[in-house]
C-alpha cells in the first residue's frame, strides 16, 4: 500500500511541474511581456526591465525560476491593483470561490442523491424519464445564461433578490442556485448510473431474498457500493465545477477568484492570470489526489494488496 502511495506522490510531483509549465506558457504565448507592462516606454527602459525580469535568460532557466517561485506562491506583482502581490490578490478571494463551489455542491447533492437513487430504482418509469429529461436540459444550458434568466425572474420581475454582490445571504442565493443548475445534472447522472451498476448485482438480490425491505436494501447495501464511483467521478469533475464557478462569479459580480481572473484577462494582467490559474489547478490536483487516496481506503480490493 505504501508503494501505491509513493507512486501517487511521484505522479503528483510530475503533474504539479506540468501544471507550472502550462501556466508558464500562458505568458510566453502572449509574446513580449515588456510591451504589456510599458507599451510606450523607450527602448532603453525596456532593456532595463527585461534584465530585471530575467527575460534574457534561456527559456529553461526562466522556467526553472518560475517553478521555484510558483511553489512558494510568488507570481510577481500585478500590473494593476497598485502593484499588489498577485498571489495575495488570489488568496484573498479564494474563500469566496470555495464557498460558492461548496454551497452549490451541497445544494446539488441534496437534489441529485434522492432523485438519482429514486430514478435508478424506478428505471424507465415516469419519474426516471422526467429526471433524465431534466438532466439533458440542465446540461444543455449555458451557465451564464441560466444566471441571467434567474436575474430576470427574481431580481427584475419579482424584485426578490439582489442582482449582484456577495455581501448578504440574499445575494448568495442566486449565484448558488445558478451553479447548482450546472452541478446537479452532472451529479444526478453519476448517482443514477452508479446505482444502476450495483442494483443488478447478486449481493443485492441476496439481500432482497433475505426479506429485507426494499429501502433497506437500497439504503444499506446498494448505496454503500455505489458511493465509490460517485466519489471518484465527482472528484474527476471538480475542475468542471470550478470552471462553472468562474463563469457564475462573472455574471453576478461575486468577488471571487474567477471574477479576478476574468478581469485580469481583459486587462492582460498576466501575473494575476497565472497566479489564479495555477492555484485553481492546484485545488483540482489536490482534490484528485485526495480522491485517489480515499479510493485506496474505501476499496477493500486495493487495500488487500
Amino acid at each position: 500500500m505504501s508503494a501505491f502511495l509513493v507512486r501517487r506522490l511521484v505522479r503528483l510531483a510530475v503533474v504539479i511541474t506540468g501544471v507550472s509549465l502550462v501556466t508558464f506558457a500562458i505568458l510566453q504565448a502572449s509574446g513580449d511581456p515588456v510591451s504589456l507592462i510599458m507599451p510606450e516606454a523607450p527602448e532603453a527602459d525596456r532593456a532595463v526591465l527585461r534584465r530585471t525580469l530575467g527575460l534574457h535568460d534561456p527559456l529553461p532557466v526562466q522556467f526553472a525560476r518560475f517553478v521555484g517561485n510558483a511553489v512558494t506562491g510568488n507570481f510577481g506583482k500585478s500590473f494593476f491593483h497598485h502593484g499588489q502581490s498577485a498571489s495575495a490578490l488570489v488568496l484573498e478571494r479564494m474563500p469566496t470561490t470555495l464557498m460558492l463551489t461548496v454551497f452549490s455542491m451541497g445544494v446539488a447533492l441534496a437534489i441529485a442523491l434522492p432523485v438519482g437513487i429514486y430514478s435508478a430504482v424506478r428505471r424507465g418509469r415516469a419519474v426516471d424519464q422526467l429526471a433524465t429529461g431534466t438532466v439533458f436540459l440542465g446540461q444543455s444550458m449555458p451557465v451564464f445564461w441560466t444566471g441571467i434568466m434567474l436575474i430576470l425572474l427574481f431580481s427584475v420581475q419579482w424584485r426578490l433578490l439582489p442582482v449582484s454582490g456577495w455581501e448578504s445571504w440574499a445575494a448568495v442565493i442566486l449565484p448558488t442556485a445558478t451553479l447548482s443548475t450546472f452541478t446537479a445534472p452532472l451529479l444526478l447522472r453519476i448517482v443514477r448510473s452508479s446505482m444502476l451498476d450495483v442494483i443488478g448485482l447478486d449481493y443485492v438480490r441476496t439481500a432482497r431474498a433475505k426479506g429485507l425491505s426494499e429501502w433497506l436494501v437500497i439504503g444499506r447495501h446498494a448505496l454503500k457500493n455505489a458511493a465509490l464511483p460517485l466519489v471518484t467521478v465527482t472528484g474527476l469533475q471538480f475542475g468542471l465545477l470550478l470552471g462553472g464557478a468562474v463563469i457564475t462569479e462573472t455574471v453576478f459580480a461575486v468577488p471571487g477568484v474567477g471574477r479576478l481572473i476574468v478581469g485580469a484577462i481583459r486587462q492582460l494582467d498576466f501575473p494575476v492570470v497565472q497566479a489564479g490559474v495555477f492555484m485553481l489547478a492546484m485545488i483540482v490536483v489536490s482534490v484528485n489526489f485526495l480522491v485517489d487516496v480515499l479510493y485506496l481506503y474505501l476499496n477493500p480490493q486495493i487495500r488487500v494488496r
Partner: protein, 299 residues
C-alpha cells in the same frame, strides 16, 4: 442471387451492413433523437443559408427601432419577429448568423481534438512503455485545469480571433479521445485477430489503421458528437466573457453578454440567443445519447 455466388469481399460486408441498418432503425425509432436531429437540421440549414434567409442585415443599426420588443409583445413590429437590440439591430438575423460561428467552432475544434487525441491514444496503447507514460502524464496535466479557464487564458494571451478560439478549444479538449482509444487498444491488443494479423507479418501501422482503428470508431463518433455540444457551450462562454472570436461578427455568447446590461429594460436581448444555444446543444446531446445506445452492441 444466392449468397454463395457473392465475391468474398461482398460477403464480408453483409454483417456490417446489417449492423448498420439495425443501428439506424434503433436510432430513428426514438422520438427524442428524431426531434434532436430535426432541430439540428434546421440550425445547420440556417447557418448554411444565413446571408439569403435573414430578414435584415445583422449589422444594420437603426436608432428609431431601438429596443423593439418581439412581435407578440405590446409595441412589437411584424418586420422584427424577435425584436431589436440596443442599437436597433434585428435579433433574429443576428441569431441566424451567430449559428455559423457556433457550428464552425464546434465542428472544427472537435476535428482537431479527435486528430490529436486519437493519434496519441493509438500510440499510447499500441507502443506502450515510455511513450505511454509520457502521453498519460500529459493527459493528467490537462485534466488538472478547468478547461474553460485554460481556454480563456490562452485565447487572451494569443489574441482573441476565430482561429485562436478553434485552435485553443481543439488543443484543450483531446484528452478524452486519448483515454478511450488507449483503453480500447489495450483491450484489443490481446484479441486473437490482432495476434493473427501480427503472425501474418503485417506491420504495426497497417494493423493500427486496418484492424484497431475501425474498432474504436463507434466510441469516437459518440464522444465527438457530445464534444461538439460542449465546444459550442465553451465558445459561447468565451464570447460572453469577452475573449471570443471578435466583435465584428455576431455570436450567441456575445449577444447574451450585451443583453445582460439591458436585462431590466429588454428581456428579449439575452433570452433568445440563449434559447438558440439551448436548442442546438440539447439537439446534439439527444442525438449523441441515442447514437451511444444505437452503436453499442451490448444494449
Amino acid at each position: 442471387m444466392a449468397v454463395g455466388s457473392l465475391p468474398l469481399a461482398y460477403a464480408d460486408d453483409v454483417p456490417r451492413m446489417a449492423a448498420g441498418s439495425r443501428a439506424w432503425r434503433k436510432f430513428i425509432r426514438n422520438p427524442a433523437a428524431l426531434t434532436g436531429a430535426l432541430i439540428l437540421l434546421v440550425v445547420v440549414g440556417a447557418a448554411l443559408t444565413a446571408p439569403w434567409i435573414t430578414p435584415h442585415d445583422p449589422a444594420k443599426q437603426s436608432l428609431i427601432r431601438r429596443f423593439t420588443p418581439p412581435v407578440w409583445a405590446p409595441g412589437g413590429n411584424a418586420g422584427y419577429l424577435l425584436g431589436t437590440d440596443q442599437v436597433g439591430r434585428d435579433i433574429l438575423s443576428r441569431i441566424i448568423h451567430g449559428a455559423r460561428i457556433s457550428l464552425l467552432v464546434g465542428v472544427l475544434a472537435v476535428v482537431i481534438s479527435v486528430l490529436v487525441g486519437v493519434t496519441l491514444g493509438l500510440i499510447s496503447g499500441f507502443v506502450g512503455g515510455r511513450a505511454d507514460t509520457v502521453i498519460m502524464t500529459v493527459v493528467d496535466i490537462t485534466w488538472s485545469f478547468p478547461q474553460i479557464l485554460l481556454a480563456l487564458a490562452f485565447v487572451a494571451a494569443l489574441g482573441p480571433s476565430l482561429v485562436t478560439v478553434i485552435l485553443v478549444l481543439g488543443f484543450t479538449g483531446w484528452e478524452r479521445y486519448a483515454r478511450v482509444v488507449r483503453a480500447e487498444v489495450l483491450a484489443l491488443r490481446e484479441k486473437d485477430f490482432i495476434e493473427a494479423a501480427r503472425a501474418m507479418g503485417i506491420g504495426s501501422a497497417r494493423i493500427l489503421a486496418r484492424h484497431v482503428l475501425p474498432n474504436t470508431f463507434s466510441s469516437i463518433v459518440v464522444l465527438s458528437t457530445l464534444q461538439v455540444a460542449q465546444a459550442i457551450l465553451q465558445e459561447a462562454a468565451l464570447s460572453f466573457l469577452g475573449v471570443g472570436s471578435g466583435r465584428t461578427y455576431p455570436t450567441w455568447g456575445q449577444m447574451i453578454a450585451l443583453g445582460r446590461d439591458f436585462v431590466s429594460v429588454a428581456w428579449w436581448l439575452p433570452t433568445f440567443p440563449g434559447l438558440a444555444i439551448l436548442a442546438t446543444v440539447l439537439a446534439i446531446n439527444l442525438v449523441g445519447d441515442r447514437l451511444r445506445d444505437a452503436l453499442d452492441p451490448r444494449v
